[in-house]
């Protein structure tokens, strides 16, 4: 049986792909690589999640999924700003926070003594 996490990640990726296609239709030909390829992020996130689950038999905590959401959010904002011809000094913080949360999520499963059984 496919887990809820897999379904959520795959649906997110499909939604992001459709979103970027529609958004680029109205961008007057301006292309943002950040937005164009944002749908890859949940797929990569899912692959990492599956590897971790299969190798360690531990579930990554909410912090990991939140980090992926922040990363996707950062890419979407960067894409919107790029297409508008603008920028923001704050976008980098999305990437920093996202990576920090993901690292903390990995660290948290390393220090766990017993594996969790429930699916996050």
């Amino acid at each position: 049986m496919v887990s809820k996490t897999v379904v959520r990640y795959v649906i997110s990726s499909i939604f992001l792909f459709i979103f970027q296609v529609v958004y680029h239709q109205f961008s007057h030909g301006v292309v943002s690589p950040a937005l164009r390829y944002v749908s890859i992020v949940p797929i990569v996130g899912l692959i990492i999640w599956i590897i971790v689950v299969n190798v360690t038999h531990l579930k990554l905590p909410f912090l990991y999924h939140a980090g992926i959401v922040i990363l996707i959010n950062g890419f979407i904002l960067q894409g919107v700003l790029e297409i508008a011809g603008s920028d923001s000094p704050y976008i980098v913080f999305y990437f920093i926070v996202s990576f920090l949360w993901i690292i903390v999520a990995f660290a948290s499963i390393l220090v766990k003594k017993t594996p969790e059984r429930r699916n996050v």
Binding site: G29, V30, F62, L77, A84, S86, Y90
Partner: protein, 304 residues
């Protein structure tokens, strides 16, 4: 189980709320909230030019729908059709480079401080004006206007248009010279958008070159120089049923045909506006209703 679910929902809700708040803040700072800033440094040439301008008195100009003539400024607007696009080619000759000026929206430097090109032009009694580089939409790129340095954060590889104290146009790379060095050398204006279209009378963009790596035809605004105190502005419509728009290469070809030795692309798309003698001449596609987008700055010819 119920308690755990409630706790999880609370965490997800707080996380979502924080994320939405952060997004709102970033977007508001980028697009809405005005942030006025001050001059970093200034050079003396600007104030000398201003003093000179104030003493000039002109005779009554001869103005038609497509031309303006007085003893200091002569301009003609030639309407052409290029690539199914209405293109306005403005040929301008001035007796002194100080008649080529720039102005800021609300006479204030800062992000999200905007006015329509026609409004800024009217406030400065411009004879003819075009939109500038919309510096306030970005957080980097030199901003040097009328001898005042406002922003010195540059990006390596970013081509800027420099207008020196003699009114001559040239192209620089922000990675190769600092804004302070430009100011110290007497430069009056630096516009940071690009790319350069013509250098040494040669087209320097190819058919694949585009703003934002796109390949679209769009409304365009650009400025070039033919010879000493002799300029050419090109404004093209686009994104309408009547006008397809120009690629950067097609825009460069228009400049080459006009005899430009240097030409530079300014902010285009919805910002593209050509103002002459109290009226907007082109068909802007930038806003709602009047369709004229509010921008940060203009380039204009005038006495004030």
């Amino acid at each position: 189980m119920k308690r755990w679910f409630k706790k999880k929902m609370a965490i997800v809700s707080i996380f979502s709320l924080l994320l939405i708040s952060a997004d709102s803040y970033v977007l508001l700072k980028a697009f809405v909230l005005p942030q006025a800033e001050t001059v970093i440094a200034s050079n003396q040439i600007a104030s000398e030019s201003t003093t000179t301008n104030e003493t000039i008195e002109t005779t009554e100009p001869v103005i038609t729908e497509t031309s303006y003539t007085d003893e200091n400024i002569q301009l003609t607007i030639d309407e052409q059709v290029v690539n199914n696009t209405k293109v306005y080619v403005v040929d301008i000759q001035v007796s002194d480079p100080s008649y080529l000026k720039t102005a800021l929206a609300q006479n204030t430097y800062g992000r999200n401080i905007k006015e329509a090109t026609s409004t800024i032009a009217e406030e400065n009694k411009a004879i003819l004006a075009i939109n500038g580089d919309f510096y306030g939409f970005r957080s980097s790129g030199y901003v040097l206007r009328n001898g005042n340095l406002y922003r010195e954060s540059g990006v390596d590889g970013q081509e800027d248009l420099v207008i020196d104290e003699n009114g001559d146009l040239s192209i620089i790379d922000e990675g190769e010279i600092s804004a302070q060095e430009l100011l110290d050398s007497g430069v009056q204006q630096v516009l940071s958008f690009g790319p350069a279209l013509i250098e040494n009378s040669e087209i320097v963009v190819d058919t694949a070159t585009e703003v934002g790596q796109s390949m679209s035809s769009n409304p365009r605004t650009a400025i070039g120089q033919i010879s000493e105190n002799h300029y050419v502005l090109v404004v093209s419509d686009g994104r309408t049923d009547e006008s397809e728009g120009l690629s950067l290469y097609q825009l460069a070809e228009v400049f080459q045909q006009a005899g430009a030795t240097t030409a530079y692309n300014l902010d285009g798309g919805g910002s593209t506006t050509l103002y002459f003698n109290g009226q907007v001449i082109n068909t802007p596609v930038g806003g709602q209703g009047s369709s004229e987008r509010s921008v940060s700055d203009i380039v204009y010819f005038g006495y004030e």
